[in-house]
């Protein structure tokens, strides 16, 4: 071995060439392999887009939007005024101006204004007035339950319900099972000449289509006589009317049968049911005292069943005062009031009342 080592001493002859050849060979191989790889990458075919299989989606029925339209027979009183340029500015429309005829009752900037007397109806205004002293009226649709559904009310049950109310001390809770209109009305007199029964629920905001076969209103307020004296009411209503002063029933002025069904009150006046107003005889109430300058509570109910015509008229007589007489021989008594009756309502009353039934003049029983 040592011999051999000594003989070859350093590199073996021919080895560098082989190494070089081998390197060149491997380089060529690597280059070919590399180019093949690059080529195959470059030549990689573009993937064709294959649409995905359709996905089954659960179908949902589109519901038609439903808009509840409140059917109110009395349309809005808003006046709509629009000015617009038709040709040159077709897209521009000036803002609408409304409430042109709303009067002062519309209010300004959140401040409550005085109610417009022109807005007053025979059944009262929609907001309390500081003019005079008004009675707050509540409307009960007694043919409906408190949710507004028909309750199968009958004539006999109607009068029983009204009797229960009177016997409860005119406690509104006895009407808790019936529909009560959210709208209150504020009246300063009670003189509704013969008119359509449906006008009353309508004035309390009850739509025409709502069952209004049986209804009753209950007004509460205070009255005062400046001079004091002894007074009594004369009233006529279709079908029901009752008046209470300081918690005491002093008049039933509705139909004779209706009054007897609803109450045990009986008149002692000789004039009771003797004279007519509208097409029925008036009830004449009990005398009651009013101390000068002392306010007292007063309540009035009037109602109707069976629709068609209604009426609710209340006049007042002072003991010892002589009144002119009408063709029937009945005294022409002043309409009971706590404020002067607006002119437009006098016109309306005159159109439907028979001359000599009542006078628009007379004392005002306001509390100030």
């Amino acid at each position: 071995m040592k011999k051999l080592f000594r003989k070859t001493k350093g590199l073996i002859r021919g080895v560098p060439s082989a190494v070089l050849l081998s390197a060149v060979f491997h380089f060529i191989l690597l280059s070919i392999a590399g180019s093949l790889v690059v080529f195959s990458v470059m030549k990689k075919e573009e993937k064709k887009f294959v649409p995905p299989p359709p996905i089954e989606r659960p179908k949902m029925d589109l519901k038609k939007p439903r808009v509840k339209v409140k059917k109110t027979a009395k349309p809005s009183a808003t006046q709509r005024i629009v000015s617009k340029n038709v040709q040159s500015m077709p897209e521009i429309q000036l803002p609408e101006i409304s409430g042109m005829s709303a009067g002062l009752s519309g209010g300004i900037g959140g401040f409550e204004m005085m109610p417009d007397p022109a807005e007053m109806t025979l059944f009262g205004g929609k907001s309390s007035s500081s003019i005079g002293n008004d009675f707050e009226g509540t409307f009960y649709a007694m043919g409906l339950d408190r949710a507004g559904r028909r309750n199968g009310m009958s004539y006999s049950e109607f009068y029983r319900a009204v009797r229960r109310f009177y016997e409860s001390g005119w406690n509104p809770r006895s009407f808790a099972m019936y529909y009560r209109a959210p709208q209150k009305l504020y009246a300063t007199f009670f003189y509704i000449p013969m008119t359509a029964s449906e006008f009353v629920p309508r004035s309390f905001g009850i739509p025409d289509e709502v069952y209004s076969f049986f209804w009753l209103t209950h007004y509460k307020g205070k009255i005062m006589s400046k001079t004091g004296g002894t007074f009594r009411f004369w009233g006529r209503a279709e079908n029901m009317m009752a008046v209470r002063i300081s918690g005491k029933e002093v008049l039933q002025g509705g139909h004779i049968d209706a009054a007897e069904l609803a109450s045990d009150w009986r008149s002692t006046a000789s004039e009771h049911r003797k004279f007519y107003r509208g097409h029925g005889p008036m009830g004449v109430g009990d005398w009651f005292e009013l101390e000068a300058g002392v306010p007292v509570e007063m309540e009035i109910t009037f109602g109707d069943e069976n629709g068609a015509w209604t009426q609710a008229t209340l006049t007042i007589e002072e003991k010892g005062v002589e009144y002119p007489k009408n063709e029937d021989g009945a005294p022409i008594l002043p309409i009971f009031k706590t404020a002067e009756i607006p002119g437009h309502l006098i016109d309306e009353i005159e159109y439907s009342m028979i001359e000599g039934e009542a006078s628009f003049e007379g004392p005002v029983f306001n509390v100030y």
Binding site: S83, M100, G307, A308, W309, I354
Partner: protein, 260 residues
């Protein structure tokens, strides 16, 4: 809902109300005296003191004269009224033969002349009825709308009048000559006035009633007085053919003997 037609009225009335002789100047500085007659297809017709008429383009007038025209040359307008009629439903508690009809009127006033008009205009709508139980008339509604046409060649003003209702019913309990009472539709009258109070256009659907359609100015004046002097109620606005206020038909006293 029943819609009864659209009446269209077209009144070429432009400028007549504003006629006055005044000095004019064109944009070349020529001055002359003339009165404005009317606008015709965008040109201005002027009548000179010698009676000759001349047409001049608006742009050829001085800016001062243009401003005068915009303020004083009443526009040509077209009045449309759409009337919607509804009847109140009859329910089982309704009085037999008691019919209440609601009327809603929408008034549209179109300026069809090209000349701009910047003056204030007033539109008045009068709705009239006849007495069912008498021979007179009732001013049911007077609606007033003041406006200025927006700038532009053609512009429009519209307003919706408050709903009104007319009731005709059988007052069987009242021994009147006519047991039917209430009011029935007679017609409408619309008048548009300029800021001087001159009626520049009117429109009505009333026919065969010369006492109201013969002299619109007099009729409008009479109706205005009724509205203003009334007490806010249709019952105080009954009137005759001379526009004088009349008493409402009353139910006469009669013997009653029903006992209930």
């Amino acid at each position: 809902v029943k819609r009864i037609g659209i009446w269209i009225g077209l009144f070429v009335f432009c400028g007549l109300a504003s006629a006055e002789v005044r000095g004019w100047e064109d944009n070349k500085g020529h001055r002359f005296k003339a009165e404005f007659v009317q606008e015709l297809f965008g040109d201005i017709m002027l009548k000179e003191a010698n009676g000759h008429t001349r047409m001049i383009k608006l742009d050829d007038l001085s800016s001062k004269d243009q401003a005068y025209l915009f303020q004083h040359a009443s526009p040509t307008i077209e009045i449309n009224l759409t009337k919607t009629i509804r009847k109140r439903p009859e329910m089982e508690w309704t009085i037999p033969e008691d019919v209440t009809t609601l009327y809603t009127c929408m008034v549209r006033i179109n300026k069809i002349s090209e000349l701009p008009y910047k003056g204030k205009l007033t539109a008045e709508l009068f709705l009239l009825a006849t007495e069912v139980d008498g021979e007179n008339y009732i001013l049911i509604q007077r609606e007033k709308s003041e406006f200025v046409f927006p700038e532009g060649k053609r512009s429009q003003h519209e307003f919706q009048a408050k709903d009104v209702q007319l009731r005709r019913y059988n007052a069987s309990w009242a021994a009147t000559a006519s047991r039917y009472r209430g009011a029935e539709y007679f017609g409408y009258l619309i008048a548009v006035s300029d800021d001087q109070g001159r009626i520049i256009s009117s429109k009505t659907d009333i026919k065969d009633a010369d006492w109201i359609t013969g002299d619109i100015s007099t009729s409008v004046e009479g109706l205005r007085k009724l509205a203003i002097n009334g007490r806010g109620s249709v019952y105080s606005r009954h009137f005759d053919t001379t526009f004088e206020k009349t008493e409402v038909p009353r139910i006469p006293w009669h013997k009653r003997d029903a006992w209930f």
